[in-house]
Symmetry: C2
Subunit: 157 residues, 2 copies
């Protein structure tokens, strides 16, 4: 619980700071992109450690399953609740109780702030996949807090 | 290990970002102070959770011992190696292998960057103490990496 709290509090501070530091017209866009980039580098570093002793992955789906189970558990203390794919390079990872959203109130008026709370995690996933040789674009959407979906679009090389 | 890595990587990213965002003449000073403030709020939040079921502390020394043992262990996975006090409101907490410095090379040319790597932790300690009713000023110094000393000066009310 301690680690979890540390991550949650730090995450809030980062968002608040980045949000304050990036000013101007395209404020939210820049804030989100900075957070995504930070997440990307953290994800790269983390996956390198996590997979140190892991056998080679069979295929893309195998990599995604690892992200949903092992990677998600180590970062968020739970697995992804649902993984879907169209078998054409699009994967949807659904977390029914995403930890970094549980601090936000569930009211609809807060939905507009959700992208800031998801950006770092989108980066985490993109960074982790990237270091496993899978180039992707990761986006996230929230319909009802604190559930959310991460969409991974694989970029074929 | 996973949590530890997450904290370390995030911490590096925060430093890098804050360092880049704070520009101007007094750059390092502002960067350090921003990081310290972030740490302060994180420390306040953390200690609130950690001490939820802890019996009331006897005195100031008892509080400091809690920081050195329980608090330090939950954040840095080890205890403070040495706690000294002059019994007049000054406490020195020595960590012989401070986790957030172990990534830095040990060369003397890197010593000038050390304050940035210690600022958030100074804030953590100050925030934690503050929420336990102990007002303080916390500074840090490094003589030989990755050992460092945190000095806590209690501010009498």
């Amino acid at each position: 619980m301690a680690d979890e709290a540390l991550f949650q509090f730090l995450h809030s501070e980062i968002i608040q700071y980045v949000n304050g530091a990036e000013s101007g017209e395209s404020e939210i866009g820049r804030c989100v992109s900075k957070l995504e980039n930070m997440g990307f580098r953290v994800g790269q570093g983390l996956i390198e450690r996590f997979t140190k002793d892991t056998p080679r992955f069979k295929d893309e789906l195998d990599v995604l399953k690892f992200i949903c189970k092992d990677f998600w558990t180590s970062v968020f203390k739970k697995q992804i609740d649902n993984l879907r794919t169209n078998h054409q390079g699009i994967y949807v990872l659904q977390d029914n109780k995403f930890r970094l959203l549980t601090q936000l109130s569930a009211g609809k008026q807060h939905l507009e702030h959700a992208p800031k709370f998801l950006a770092l995690t989108c980066g985490l996933v993109r960074g982790a996949l990237s270091n496993l040789g899978v180039k992707s674009i990761v986006t996230a959407e929230v319909s009802v807090m604190p559930a959310c979906k991460f969409q991974v679009m694989i970029q074929k090389m």
